[in-house]
């Protein structure tokens, strides 16, 4: 019995981390209708910056995080100002391709600066796992979950309560009307990219800590798609719920199906789940359904 509970628990924790990355993704989609295929590379780049500061330059953790913050905000702004601003109103494939190009760029840029070999991103956490009954919990898991929760709550607060959030929601609803009400849409696009950079930094720290930092880290970006499709592309709570569902499905599949087929189902079940959801409920659990009129 405790084996299953442990599986569920692992799934929940990993799901929170997926949700953390997905929130950054949803943020950009909501504001500017851009699907960000470079989300994983964002996370990787952030982890690279922090790990390089820690390991190569021997800086204290707070300095590394501050540098990471500055780098990610700058990166987000740069992308928006130099590329995506010019693609507004272009076909979807152009947008997708631009972010894929960005992804390739980052995948070359980070190792060019800091080397291709894997780095460690160590956080000052205790080594000993916690025990609750039969269940074990690693301190990194707990820290990661707390950080993810904090970020998600902060983003939720930002969207619902703050002035920025109101503006972002207005833009998501109708860009022209938002402009007419005096919202500087372009500025908020840039802002949403910068914010996504900040969320990617949080993702980079936890994922980099768990998996080590090299270009393989960018692969977590692929897991975002099942999460956001499940939850609905433009919904923050959807991203959270989707993340949890994907995390749990993955963990259960690894626990139950892997022994039967010989491993690897973890990378595969989320996509099957996603295709099923796409067929039944294309806009996800909480996504806004668009009705097309001629």
């Amino acid at each position: 019995m405790s084996y299953y509970v442990q599986l569920l628990l692992n799934g929940l924790f990993i799901g929170l981390l997926y949700a953390l990355i997905a929130v950054g993704f949803v943020m950009i989609y909501k504001a500017s209708d851009v699907i960000n295929f470079a989300q994983g590379e964002f996370v990787m780049f952030a982890a690279y910056v922090v790990a390089a500061c820690l390991q190569l330059y021997d800086w204290p953790l707070w300095a590394a995080i501050l540098v990471g913050l500055a780098a990610m905000v700058l990166l987000g702004l740069l992308i928006e100002l130099s590329v995506l601003r010019y693609l507004i109103g272009r076909p979807i494939v152009a947008m997708i391709m631009a972010t894929i190009g960005m992804a390739a760029f980052l995948r070359g840029f980070a190792p060019l600066l800091w080397g291709i070999e894997s780095k460690q991103l160590q956080l000052p956490l205790p080594e000993e796992p916690f025990f609750i009954g039969d269940l074990t919990l690693a301190p990194t898991q707990i820290f990661a979950a707390l950080l993810a929760l904090a970020c998600i709550v902060a983003v939720g607060w930002l969207f619902v309560r703050s002035r920025i959030g109101v503006a972002l929601r207005a833009i998501a609803d109708d860009q022209q009307v938002a402009m007419a009400m005096g919202i500087d849409v372009k500025r908020y696009f840039a802002l949403s990219w910068a914010l996504a950079g900040v969320i990617a930094l949080a993702g980079g720290i936890v994922w980099g800590n768990m998996l080590g930092v090299d270009i393989q880290l960018a692969l977590v970006g692929l897991k975002v798609f099942p999460v956001v499709i499940l939850g609905g592309l433009d919904s923050i709570q959807g991203a959270i719920l989707g993340g949890l569902i994907v995390g749990i499905t993955e963990s259960l599949a690894a626990g139950f199906v892997d022994p039967l087929v010989g491993g690897g189902t973890k990378d595969f079940t989320p996509y099957v789940l996603m295709i099923i959801v796409l067929m039944i409920k294309p806009f996800g659990l909480f996504g806004k359904e668009t009705i097309e009129r001629v």
């Binding site: 979807i92 391709m97 996509y271 996603m274 796409l278």
Partner: protein, 358 residues
Amino acid sequence: MINRESGTFKRTYAQDMALYRAPLARYTMIALAALGFAVFPWWASDYALNLANLIAIACLGAIGLNLLTGYCGQISIGHAAFMSVGAYSAAVLSLKFGVPWWLAMPAAGGVSALVGIVIGIPSLRIKGLYLAISTLAAQLIIEWTINHVSWISGGTQASLYVGKPSLFGFALKTNLQMYYFILVVLVAGTVFAMNLLRTELGRSFVAVRDRDIAAEIIGVDIFRTKLTAFAISSFYAGIAGVLYTYYYGMASYEAFTLNISIEFLAMIIIGGLGSILGSIFGAFFVTLLPIFLERGLQMIGAGLFGLRDQNLVATSSSLKVMIFGALIMFFLVVEPDGLNKLWNNVKDYFKVWPFPYE
């Protein structure tokens, strides 16, 4: 370039629909064919032939993707997966069932087309972004399946060794022989695609792309059109996959990863969406770019910065990826209609040369 259009009047629909609409086009085509079939292979080195083969296969794949994405407007991020289906079908057919290549090749294309239809079914309900993501899922699922089902992939390395095709008892062994083989397939594929676009089906592709609801109202069966586009596109992909398999002598799933799908998308975007010629330009560009970049960068790195061995390889491969990404973004911002548009600009300039109107 010397394709003067002034003075050629089209008096019938047939003339307007013709493949060669200007009288000189016919001769340009003959010249191109002579270049491709006689001059180039006679003059080229073995290495150049190798590149030419890779480009030709990429052209075929890019034309297939352009039919689906450029003409029918259905974004696919799973093109390499369709290629892998073709490659492995041909390999399994010839290894397990002893089917000869001339039967295995179209059969593999057919299997690809079937898989393409299945993947295309969601396009009934979803479009745009959502469809793109579902093809991404298809790519990952197919990749996983081939990698994990040992009946298809034959065990651990997931690579199957396949013999070269043979013609009248002669096995096509050298690069030169394979070059002719691939070129013939490519020409057939190109001519088929160009003709397809002049038919009712080709027109309905474009109608669905431009406004699917309007297309439905004027009587285009959207679902059937989309599925046919998926089938034809994955047939092309399957054949390209088979050609890779014959060319390398083995089917390996590493040749058909997500990155390859993205490269094909890059080809049709850099070359020009919705243009056959553009697909060919794009295939040239995307296949040759990394090779030249790598060579150039290694020369510069060794000469200017004194990098050696491992350092040199790591730096140049990172730079290569970086420049590739930057170029994609550059093209999207600066020349969204791709190389084909540049080519058309040149042609338009020379149309009235040396006496422009202005």
